[in-house]
């Protein structure tokens, strides 16, 4: 009992260190105006693609800061912050406040525009005839799956960019006679693009420059690292038959980097609609009031020097399902991919 009391006293005494070393900042976490300044300043320091998105950040400060005062409540603060962030229309900018839905600055994500024009159940049942293998995961939307279409076309839906991208090498080895490969990156939520670069090496016959990026490394507007060139290596004898990559407005982040890398291969064709256009790597952070948010910190150029941030990577063949197509059990985008492979 005595030891227990000593232990409790010890633990209690530890908490006494906090105000001594980390003094509270004048109730800052409760001051809406201070929180607004903090978020604005962090974006001012870290956000990279202001120019690409044609944003005058200082003007937004003037416009929105005036809407708050020291007495503004949490609701008012949330409303002003989200209104300001919405101006960025950036899929990588999110605000995660307690008891609220995750806020996406990007309108397409926020309003889930055309989200239901991709239907994984339809693909699995109709085109893969329920013969498919799924990756592990708790959320259905983050599960990738793979199978064969008509026993001659390899189909993979990558829901994210992660270690399941090794499926490309495995399926290529398992089906050497396949007529083509469909990489379905619609609704790809991103991840770590280095998995994609390693996997694409198995489709590639020579080392290729695929994109370059630079990252904020200081508080001034022009504080960036040097440009960093990214390459896809070559492993094995490549893949000479057609590769169709399917994309949509929910192909985002590392999913878009994968598209940038894939489109450098001569036998790749992109079908669908432009990707989201949130290509820069993002950094999660916290505000002093405990709210969470994310900031994109990079500029990215594709192999040809194009900027797709804020625009999205365009397809060569523009095509999108309608709700009627989905209701009629048709994925016309996938059917177009199959037709493109069959005509070779």
């Amino acid at each position: 009992m005595k030891n227990l009391i000593i232990s409790l006293v010890f633990i209690f005494s530890l908490s006494a260190c906090e105000p001594m070393f980390f003094p509270p900042k004048n109730q800052r976490e409760k001051d809406a105006k201070a929180i607004f300044d903090e978020l604005w300043q962090e974006f001012n320091v870290f956000y990279a693609p202001f120019e690409e998105r044609e944003i005058n950040w200082s003007n937004l400060y003037q416009q929105y800061q005036a809407q708050l005062n020291e007495n503004s409540n949490e609701e008012a603060l949330y409303s002003v912050l989200t209104a300001m962030l919405a101006k960025l229309d950036d899929g990588h900018v999110q605000l995660n406040a307690p008891r609220r839905e995750v806020f996406y600055a990007n309108r397409i994500y926020r309003e889930k525009i055309d989200y239901n024009l991709f239907n994984r159940n339809l693909i699995q049942s109709k085109y893969l005839k329920n013969q498919f293998e799924e990756s592990a995961g708790t959320e259905a939307i983050e599960k990738s799956f793979k199978g064969l279409i008509d026993n001659e076309i390899v189909y993979i839906h990558f829901a994210k960019v992660a270690d399941e991208w090794q499926w490309i090498a495995e399926l290529k080895a398992q089906h050497p006679q396949a007529k083509g490969l469909v990489l379905d990156l619609r609704h790809n939520v991103g991840g770590d693009f280095t998995y994609a670069l390693a996997a694409i090496a198995h489709l590639n016959t020579q080392k290729r420059f695929v994109f370059k990026s630079r990252t904020k490394n200081g508080p001034n507007q022009n504080d960036f690292t040097d440009w960093y060139n990214w390459y896809v290596e070559s492993k094995g004898n490549g893949f000479e038959r057609p590769i169709i990559v399917l994309i949509d407005r929910f192909t985002i982040s590392a999913g878009e980097r994968a598209v940038m890398a894939l489109k450098t291969l001569p036998n790749v064709k992109l079908i669908g609609v432009s990707t989201n256009g949130a290509i820069s790597t993002m950094m999660p952070r916290q505000l002093s009031n405990g709210w969470n948010y994310s900031i994109p910190t990079q500029d990215v150029l594709d192999a040809e020097g194009n900027v797709w941030e804020g625009k999205g990577i365009p397809p060569q063949i523009v095509l999108q399902n309608t709700l009627t197509d989905i209701e009629q059990n048709k994925d016309l985008v996938l059917e177009k991919a199959i037709a493109e492979i069959q005509k070779n």
């Binding site: 633990i11 906090e18 980390f22 999110q94 770590d192 960093y228 950094m283 994310s294």
Partner: protein, 281 residues
């Protein structure tokens, strides 16, 4: 096979313990194997990731050490591991983006791995009081798995330094010992997450997706820093009591203050209370 191994180990351990408690009155046992478990508490504010102060305990923790303690010098090699469960004080609940289901933010996990070697030489003695002076090679890697509600992010710190170290010993009449030790780095090799946490160099260095090569590459990408940029003060006070000829128990309090200036400031305070069982031979 597994059960047999476990039973053998248990029996072996019991025999070892009986032997240790037995009447073996060897006078000179300068070597010791030390096993420590402790109550460890950390406060950390790392501006690279968050302005908030994170705090928590490390329930899974363990340290092993070999010590050679004789009249003129002390050698100690030590390896330790701690896993902290950290929070910023508020439970965070939010609604998922797609289907608006309520979700709870996870607590963050910080991992500490340390590998230290200390050599101290006796420079002063008076009656039962002695002072040792020397150096400590302090090598500490900290990995941070921050959970910010809907977001997760990884960070790291590596501090590798050769520290001037001093230890004050008091030999009590009943063979018990008291000691106080202090070490502070003058120059340190410091590796930390980059300014914007995920830059291209960082992404490239972890692209093998293998823990050890990634760790080696991240730690190699450090900078030599001096006292105005890195402070890592460690103070220890301990009371050691022999419970038999070969076994001793030690209560050790350790205070560690760490300050890192670049690329953004970070401060941490660790208060640890270890119980150490030593086998002397």
């Amino acid at each position: 096979m597994k059960r047999f191994t476990f039973k053998t180990l248990l029996l072996g351990g019991f025999c070892f313990f009986c032997l240790a408690l037995g009447n073996n009155f060897a006078q000179d046992r300068p070597n010791a194997l030390r096993l420590s478990y402790g109550l460890q508490h950390q406060l950390r504010q790392d501006q690279l990731f968050s302005p908030l102060v994170y705090k928590g305990l490390a329930i899974p923790n363990l340290a092993l050490a070999y010590q050679r303690f004789n009249e003129s010098s002390i050698h100690q090699a030590e390896i330790g591991f701690s896993l902290y469960n950290m929070r910023n004080g508020k439970e965070f609940e939010y609604l998922d983006w797609l289907n608006l289901t309520p979700k709870k933010g996870l607590s963050s996990s910080f991992i500490d791995i340390k590998l230290n070697y200390t050599f101290l030489k006796k420079i002063f003695t008076a009656n039962d009081f002695s002072i040792y002076l020397g150096a400590k090679s302090s090598n500490e890697i900290e990995a941070f798995f921050y959970e910010f509600g809907r977001f997760s992010t990884f960070g790291y710190t590596g501090i590798f330094s050769l520290n001037p170290a001093i230890q004050f010993n008091y030999q009590m009449p009943n063979d018990d010992r008291l000691f106080l030790a202090l070490d502070v780095p003058v120059v340190a090799w410091v590796a930390r997450s980059p300014y914007a946490v995920n830059d291209d160099d960082f992404i490239e260095r972890q692209s093998s997706h293998k823990t050890l090569p990634t760790l080696a590459r991240l730690m190699a990408d450090g900078k030599l820093q001096t006292l105005n940029q890195v402070k890592n003060i460690r103070l220890q006070a301990a009371y050691q009591r022999f419970i038999s000829e070969r076994l001793s128990l030690e209560a050790l309090y350790e205070f560690n203050y760490q300050y890192l200036k670049q690329p953004r400031p970070s401060e941490s305070i660790k208060n640890n209370l270890f119980l150490t069982l030593s086998f002397h031979f």
